[in-house]
Amino acid sequence: MPRFILGLLVVFEIGIIGIIGIIPPLAEAGPQSTTYELKEYTFGAGGTSQAGADSSTYTLFGTAGELEYDKLTSSTYALGGGLIFTLKANVPPAPSFTNPSQNYDRLKFIIDNGGNPSDATFAIAISTDNFAADTRYIQNDNTIGATLGSEDWQTYANWGGASGEYVTGLAAGTTYYIKVKAEQGNFTESEYGSVANAATSLPSLTFGIDSATLNFTSLNPGNSYTDSSKSTILTTSTNAYNGYIVYGRVTQALTFSTFNIANYASPNSAPSTWSGTGFGYTTDDASLTGGTGNRFTNGGPKYAGFTTSAPGDPVADHAGPVLTAISSENFTISYRVTADQETEAGVYTTTVLYVVVPEY
């Protein structure tokens, strides 16, 4: 019996010790709801213990010191204090800001997330005077706007990640400055990071032809009244974003006195394999605007006749977007003239005009 009582007492004591261990002392409990408990809420020097008051989901930040009235700052860095500073997103370093393709209306930026988590969002300010009087913002469509809306805060991935994106609608020949700030939720907006700058180029176009004259071989029965050996090489360089187009036309048909050799009958939109007589041309541009792209090259050279009305017909082009400047691009316009034995003998002349304009 005494052994039984002793056993009961031992069990009771163990139970009491267990209950005391489970229930925290009332004096140590902080303000709490059914979900949260504020574990530390005092003010003053000191802070949380090294272990921190945290769980797998939440962390209570503490401060190691009080906010100083005179923060340690330089033009690049600021040593902040206090809880707010601890909660702020990391200040993003200067972004990469370049003009890799000599563009005149766009510049490429790659922001640095500065070690912020993937759900942090970033806003980008842009200026033409290094933020003296002109401060605008890159909008979420990558154009520039006067106001910074909530939609213009985008994640690192949405700003193009490591590949970056282009800010568009810029003025040509102008230096732009950008800087980036970050936030991760309310009350966490960081200061702007360092400024980067880049300049837009001027849109330019270089054009040339290899010869200012054409001199066809004398047409006679020996060559079947045909010469198809003459050509003009058109050379173009440009950084125009939408590319360029070259129109060709003649002032008149090949004419001698009151006689002429008519322009070849097939139009530019539907060139054909040569048959019959006339003065025509073909181009080696296999992706030409104004119809099926390879209509002049598919299945051997196809010929069309020049028009006499301005601006002419497309004979060479380079469609946009041009993200890397076009350098000395050559297209060859080859001519063919075929007469017949009834064509009046004489020197037949005309003028071929090529006009190059930027596409828009």
Partner: protein
């Protein structure tokens, strides 16, 4: 011994011959690629400008002579309008264009010394009272290359520099609408034909920048940038693109086209599309059906094969 030496010498000559042929071919190709034909460089090529009534603006145009002799150049302003949708030009010389009378060029005929640049001063004076809106012109720069007589044809070339001026209107006044946003509702191809048409209902021109967002039911949204184009007042532009679709391309997608009109403003339209590789699916279904049939009728099949091979079960 002599035969061996002859063999070695003949081998050396053979390799030399091959080397020379290759050298010749590559050099001819290189020569063909680098033939310099360029005569003149014009910069800037596009004056995309916002102007206000009653004000005067000054611009510079730089011409560079790239040949080794002096180059006479003629500058001439002309009117132009645009064709609808496809972005072509119509150079009209008869229709009056007030912009041409507002632009003053300090010299229209000039000689640029060899391998040098010349700057042309352009002054744009806008009268106090002008209708607001877009005004357009083209400045043609024509090099007058010396041309010998007694030829069948003279060939001449000129460059057009564009003046795109919005007078008294800003990007905030842009009015536009999406006329067509067409993607196939059902597709099993890796590329999608996109047709987009946008109409400018405002008084000013603007640069329209479309972006296509493809969002699957599950997974990340894909953003596809499409070429930016100018749209002139009252005109429409058309985009016909073949969109490369994601590798794992199956299921239902939401496709949203967002056309930026500048200053953070954009037009938006959404449609849905389904992508199912039907032909692949049918093959897989056929294989599964045959497998089930074999599994369920394996005894009969084995017996049939035995009868076929041995003539009895």
């Amino acid at each position: 011994m002599i035969n061996n030496k002859l063999k070695i010498i003949s081998k050396i000559f053979f390799f030399l011959f091959i080397f020379e042929i290759l050298f010749l071919i590559f050099n001819l190709e290189a020569l063909a690629q680098t033939k310099p034909n360029e005569i003149i460089r014009v910069s800037p090529l596009i004056f995309n400008i916002s102007l206000s009534p009653g004000k005067t603006y000054n611009y510079e145009l730089t011409l560079e002579n790239l040949i080794k002799s002096p180059l006479p150049v003629r500058a001439r302003l002309e009117n132009f309008t645009t064709t609808d949708e496809e972005g072509g030009y119509i150079f009209e010389t008869t229709k009056p264009n007030p912009l041409l009378s507002w632009i003053k060029i300090d010299q229209t005929d000039m000689i640029i010394p060899e391998k040098s640049k010349k700057t042309v001063q352009i002054r744009v004076e806008i009268p106090q009272k002008v209708p607001v809106g877009g005004y357009y012109g083209v400045l043609f720069l024509e090099p007058l290359i010396s041309q010998k007589t007694n030829n069948n044809a003279l060939v001449s070339a000129k460059i057009g520099a564009l003046f795109l001026a919005n007078v008294g209107v800003s990007g905030k006044d842009t009015k536009a609408q999406i006329l067509t946003f067409d993607l196939p509702f059902f597709s099993e191809e890796k590329t999608l034909p996109l047709l987009l048409r946008v109409q400018n209902n405002g008084l000013n021109h603007f640069s329209a920048k479309p972006t296509l967002y493809l969002k699957p039911l599950f997974g990340r949204e894909q953003k596809i940038d499409i070429e930016e184009k100018f749209i002139f007042p009252g005109k429409a532009r058309r985009w016909e693109e073949n969109i490369q679709i994601p590798k794992k391309w199956q299921g239902i997608y939401r496709a949203t086209i967002r056309v930026s009109t500048g200053q953070g403003k954009y037009l938006e339209q959404t449609s849905y599309l389904i992508s199912l590789p039907i032909s692949k699916g049918l093959v897989i279904l056929l294989i599964i059906s045959i497998s089930i049939f074999i599994w369920r009728k394996n005894r009969q099949i084995i017996r049939a094969i035995k009868i076929l091979l041995k003539g009895k079960a």
